[in-house]
Amino acid sequence: MRTNLSHRKERIDRGIKVRSDDIFVLASMRDLLYVILPKAIVILAMLILPLLKDVVGMYWLNVLVTTLVVILLALSWDLLASAGLVSLGQAFFFGVGSYIAGYLSFKFGWSPLFTIPTATLVGSIICALFLYPVLRLRGIYFGLITFALPLLLARLIEATKVLGGTEGMSALPPIPGMTGKLYLLMFVVLLTLFGFRRLISSNYGLVFQGIRDNDRAVIAAGYNIQWYKTQAVFIAALPATFAGAFVAHHFQFVGVPAFAMDYSILPLTAVVVGGAGTFIGGALGAVILMPLSEILREFGSLRVVIYSLLLLLFSIGLPEGLFKYVKRKYSQIERLTTMEEVKHD
């Protein structure tokens, strides 16, 4: 006999939430699937996609490379933001990494095996040194300087004809093999993602968040916040300079386009779409934004209008970003459970 009373709606995560708020105590296959499925799909997709050259085609694999690069820039952006530093010029970090890798390989014939790690490390130190003076100031100065630096450096290189001038440096050695390249990028993306998430929830990362929330109180606790902000810039620069160095060898070319506005706008849009403060948000945003932007390629410069519209739409309509929204909805998936089953919970 089944009356209406014997049915009720139940949130799928109820069993988990009841038992613990943070640590999942998994009681059934269903619970296990609920927790693991989203992660499993992502990891599987990451593992399989690079192998599908014949199915997906080289063109879309290149789009995947660009997507992963934008993810790295978005992760870098989010770490800066966690210390209250709003970057309007991720292209600065990207370009510095690109040029160092390009120069080392163009001038001294270094292989990517050495140029990429060197450009990542030395590039991040250089970025931190460049930005050190503005880190003393509060407010919008960091944003303004990061906005101005890539433009300035690009013009400087064109005008002084150093580092290849307008022609740039070409015929750089490639990183062989698309599959390997993609796996390398994905490894770095995952490493950065988990590393940054861990870092920001540690006591050390708490200081960054403190500077964002109330810098005066962090000073009053005896911290040299300019020095901490410098460390934040250095750490955030690592994935971005890596991305720049990687792309230099991927395109086998470095030139002023390495400081292009795209590398600033795309990660920013990705974070706004996906949501700031979680790192995963920016990654999700990039995964949506980049293929979309490829499809819209035929619209040419109209694409900027579309980015701007997306920026507007999400910052007004969904300021928390897609990731937090989807996560909340996912935890609210309701299904019919019989009363029988509920009793077992």
Binding site: N203, L206, V207, Q209, D213, A221, G222, Y223
Partner: protein, 253 residues
């Protein structure tokens, strides 16, 4: 003769045309408790900002344990042993209350004093909250700090100072916005801090409670020190009653 722990001489600071601090001098012995009073805008907070390094003086000198700290960076002054609270207590909004204390507890000074031993920082934070009157078993320490009522924020601010284990504690209007019972719960703690030998400087408008704790007061008016001494001596001086109490009665503060 005990050396003063802090000696302030001829401190001056102007903002545009206003002389916020005008030739102020005083000194304190270790363990002494000083009250600073004066009408609104008389330069009390500015004096604290000068001592703690958040504002640089135009003239004058501040000696702390014989070290010249005039114009030193504020975080360095903290690490030497002067902690301060802010009149407007703003927490780290997006962190839970006890996480708010991790930052001062793991600060350079606190770490050095513990000799590099970390211990359970979360536990230390909860313990400190208990000292300033947060109930351990309540949910309050785990709430987001942005949602705290004013009186709790003030006590969190005090805990933040104490976490630094300072030699001098400077409190800018700790009592304002606190309820009578909240003040009553904090006064014994302040008395104990004093007994432990820490030097206290308190800016207050709540005179009755202030006079229970402090040994002497200075009165500021238009940035100038107009009186210094024992509360009962100072409060009967004509200049003080007209400058400070007069305005207090008039504004009803």
């Amino acid at each position: 003769m005990i050396e003063p722990i802090i000696k302030i001489s001829n401190l001056c600071k102007s903002f545009g045309g206003t002389k916020a601090t005008n030739d102020v001098s005083f000194e304190l012995k270790p363990g002494e408790a000083l009250g600073i009073i004066g009408p609104n805008g008389s330069g009390k907070s500015t004096l604290i900002n000068l001592i703690s390094g958040f504002v640089k003086p135009d003239k004058g000198q501040i000696l702390f344990k014989g070290i010249n700290i005039t114009g030193m960076a504020p975080h360095k002054i903290v690490n030497l042993g002067i902690a301060r609270s802010f009149q407007m207590s703003r927490p780290f909004y997006n962190m839970s209350v006890f996480k708010n204390l991790i930052i001062p507890i793991s600060s350079p000074r606190a770490r050095k004093l513990r000799g590099g031993k970390y211990g359970d920082l979360d536990e230390a934070a909860i313990h400190l909250l208990e000292e300033v009157g947060f109930e351990r078993d309540s949910q309050v320490p785990y709430k987001e700090a942005g949602a705290l009522p004013h009186g709790y924020l003030k006590r969190l601010e005090l805990a933040r100072c104490l976490a630094l284990e300072p030699d001098i504690v400077i409190l800018d209007e700790l009592f304002s916005g606190m309820s009578m019972s909240e003040i009553a719960s904090v006064v014994p703690l302040l008395e104990r801090i004093k007994k432990e030998g820490k030097t206290l400087i308190m800016v207050e408008h709540r005179l009755t409670e202030l006079f229970k704790i402090i040994d002497k007061i200075i009165v500021l008016n238009f940035g100038m020190k107009i009186a210094e001494g024992l509360p009962r001596d100072v409060m009967t001086q004509d200049e003080v009653t007209s400058a400070y109490l007069g305005s207090e009665v008039k504004t009803g503060a």
